[in-house]
């Protein structure tokens, strides 16, 4: 016990003495959390639209007015030529072009077909479909209004439609921040945990200090436990800061228990740190360790369902997620924070993570060799 305590003391001393790493460990994650949460949102706050109005009628003016008044759209220009509009497109100054041909207003008054042309920049397919949807929605709304005002009294031109009403459970306002932030928090905790642990043992090897440690009667498990605990503490600290930021700065509803999150986090961190230490024992230089950690990290994140829903992945991809601890933790932390899930709702995930943690750590201890 005394040995472990001294290893711990040594590790903490080294962490707090490392002036380069300290801000990276403690300040950067908070900044990242604040920046990324705003950046990684699917909400379309601002769509630039260019309007080619060859008609210049009451109707086109009213529609333009609707776009102007909407907070979703910024009209970058109104012109008469499609060529100029396409030029705007090429210069990437606009996301969509809406073209009203001559006679649009007249046709509308005569209640004939009044086609509108919509061009959308679809380099980013997901964004493009959202632009399109929003714009069509505005036009549709105007259409409905025109039909209603122009209809003779008593004879509704509106055909009966099946209407669906939505009730969004657990995130009623479809707020992306409350969806993204827990995920990003998981990523940050993972990055810190995985990278610090992956670089640690290999760093001692690179500097040569491991040579001196290896001839001591220190036990493998003592050495690795001494390495693990500081990172768990740092991981907990980051998680705590993240949750405070979530609660007080972003005001995300927090339905579940923070203790439960910490319980899952402790199992999860053991997994990640075990994995990191395993990488560390298998590599010769910090550079190697760094690349391997980064490689694993990117795969875990991309597959995790943070940026794309797991359900939209091909089946093999979804199956691959069975071994992705990041996916489990993101899922669980979202469940706890947004749904208020209790221990019994998530115990199977904790179980899986626990199995994973035991495997990772025993692998690391087993593969760490004091003899070359």
């Amino acid at each position: 016990m005394r040995t472990i305590r001294y290893i711990l003391q040594k590790e903490f001393l080294q962490i707090f003495r490392n002036k380069g790493m300290l801000p990276i460990i403690f300040i950067l994650p908070v900044i990242q959390l604040c920046v990324l949460t705003f950046a990684a949102t699917y909400d379309m706050k601002n769509t630039n639209i260019y309007i080619v109005d060859k008609d210049v009628s009451k109707h086109t003016q009213e529609i333009i007015g609707k776009f102007e008044n909407s907070s979703f759209f910024t009209i970058t220009g109104i012109g008469f030529s499609e060529a100029i509009a396409e030029d705007e497109f090429l210069k990437d100054r606009t996301d969509a072009i809406l073209v009203f041909n001559k006679g649009f207003g007249n046709n509308l008054d005569k209640r004939e077909d009044a086609p509108v042309q919509l061009l959308v920049n679809s380099i980013d397919a997901r964004a493009a479909s959202l632009f399109g949807m929003y714009i069509v929605e505005v036009l549709q709304e105007y259409n409905t209004k025109v039909i209603t005002t122009n209809s003779p009294v008593g004879k509704s031109a509106l055909s009966q439609r099946i209407t669906t009403s939505y009730n969004h459970f657990y995130n009623p306002e479809m707020d992306y921040i409350s969806y993204m932030l827990p995920g990003i928090l998981v990523i940050l905790v993972t990055v810190i945990g995985l990278f610090l642990s992956a670089m640690n043992v290999v760093r001692e090897r690179e500097i040569g200090t491991i040579e001196q440690i290896n001839v001591t009667p220190i036990k493998k498990y003592q050495f690795l436990i001494g390495k693990l605990i500081p990172f768990i503490v740092i991981g907990f600290f980051e998680l705590g800061v993240g949750l405070l930021v979530a609660g007080f700065i972003f005001k995300i509803p927090f339905l579940g228990s923070a203790w439960l999150i910490y319980l899952v986090a402790s199992v999860y961190l053991l997994t990640i740190l075990g994995l990191g230490l395993f990488i560390s024992t298998q590599t010769e230089t910090q550079q190697q360790a760094m690349f391997i950690a980064w490689f694993i990290m990117v795969i875990f994140i991309m597959m995790s369902g943070l940026f794309t829903p797991v359900e939209s992945m091909p089946e093999w991809g979804q199956k691959l997620n069975i071994i992705n601890p990041v996916a489990y933790f993101i899922k669980v932390i979202r469940m706890i924070m947004m749904k208020g899930s209790g221990f019994h709702d998530i115990k199977q995930y904790i179980g899986v993570l626990l199995v994973y943690a035991v495997c990772a750590i025993s692998f690391a201890v087993n593969r760490y060799r004091k003899v070359a």
Partner: protein, 306 residues
């Protein structure tokens, strides 16, 4: 005197490179034993085998009655090892390093302070300084303290004086002599031949094989040839010339002079002096000298490679 370390028929190779080739060696208890050899002779490999950091391909090593491979746990408790490269924590202070290693060996600084007292006195003024900020000599002293803190029975020092200034080097050897009085077996590897004379016994190691094991005096006394030192203004030209000379057996540059042996059992130094003078048009002095360890090493090395 009983044997502390018994090395029997050790082979070790890295891929195709044979680092150690059939090494057998006995080192006595309480002995200050020198392992002398040029860079790449296999000193560090042998040390890492002794330090239980490496496994031999063949052969066995017994240390204080324990087998290095099977009872490595026992050995790690009675071994003090100072690697050639400074391998303490540079970002920890002198005191923190010492404390850490004491704890790792399940002891306290106070328990063995008498053993390291002399060295500790010298580094104590810097005890709060980070190890990385110490001078080369101080670093070595700290490393020695850390290697001695658990009062080991065997102390392995891999090139402890490489890169350390002359004054610190002689200080270091005085310290070793003192430590030896506690009955600790000390094995020192060094590329410096002049340090060999400070050991009780030395093993000359070359290309993974032992050339000779003897006391420094013993090594020198085995040198049979008459040795001459030649001094002159242009050493290099003189060496090139001597290499072509028909009676030359060996010639080596040795600082500001050449060490020369002749093929003939008896010859006139004046004749050689005259020959060099004629050829180089400069003053040359030839005198007879006593061989040192390095001369022996060179001679043995040439003999072996013939």
């Amino acid at each position: 005197m009983s044997t502390s370390i018994n090395i029997k028929g050790i082979f070790k190779s890295y891929d195709s490179v044979k680092a150690l080739n059939d090494i057998s060696l006995d080192i006595n208890q309480g002995e200050l034993f020198g392992l002398i050899g040029a860079d790449g002779a296999g000193k560090t490999t042998l040390f890492r085998l002794l330090a239980t950091l490496l496994l031999p391909d063949a052969g066995s090593i017994d240390m204080e009655g324990y087998d290095v491979v099977n009872s490595y746990k026992k050995i790690r408790n009675l071994l003090g090892y100072m690697p050639g490269r400074f391998s303490l924590y540079q970002d920890l202070s002198v005191m923190e390093n010492l404390n850490f290693f004491a704890t790792v060996f399940n002891t306290k600084i106070e328990e063995n302070i008498d053993l390291i007292e002399d060295i500790w006195k010298q580094i104590e003024p810097f005890k709060d300084r980070k190890a990385g900020k110490l001078s080369g000599g101080m670093k070595q002293k700290l490393a020695l303290c850390c290697a001695l803190i658990h009062k080991p029975k065997v102390l392995l020092l891999d090139e402890p004086t490489t890169g350390v200034d002359a004054v610190s080097r002689s200080e270091f050897w005085q310290i070793l002599k003192k430590i030896q009085q506690y009955g600790i077996t000390i094995v020192v590897a060094t590329p410096y031949m002049d340090e060999a004379t400070l050991c009780d016994r030395v093993a000359l190691l070359d290309k993974g094989a032992i050339l000779q094991v003897d006391t420094p005096q013993g090594v020198v006394s085995t040198y049979r040839k008459a040795l001459y030192a030649i001094t002159g203004a242009n050493i290099y030209d003189m060496m090139l010339l001597l290499r072509k000379y028909e009676f030359t057996e060996s010639v080596f540059a040795f600082g500001q002079e050449l060490h020369y042996t002749d093929k003939r059992d008896e010859f006139d130094t004046n004749q050689l002096q005259h020959y060099l003078k004629e050829a180089l048009q400069q003053d040359v002095l030839v005198r007879s000298i006593n061989p040192n360890i390095e001369d022996c090493f060179m001679a043995l090395s040439i003999q072996k490679n013939k």
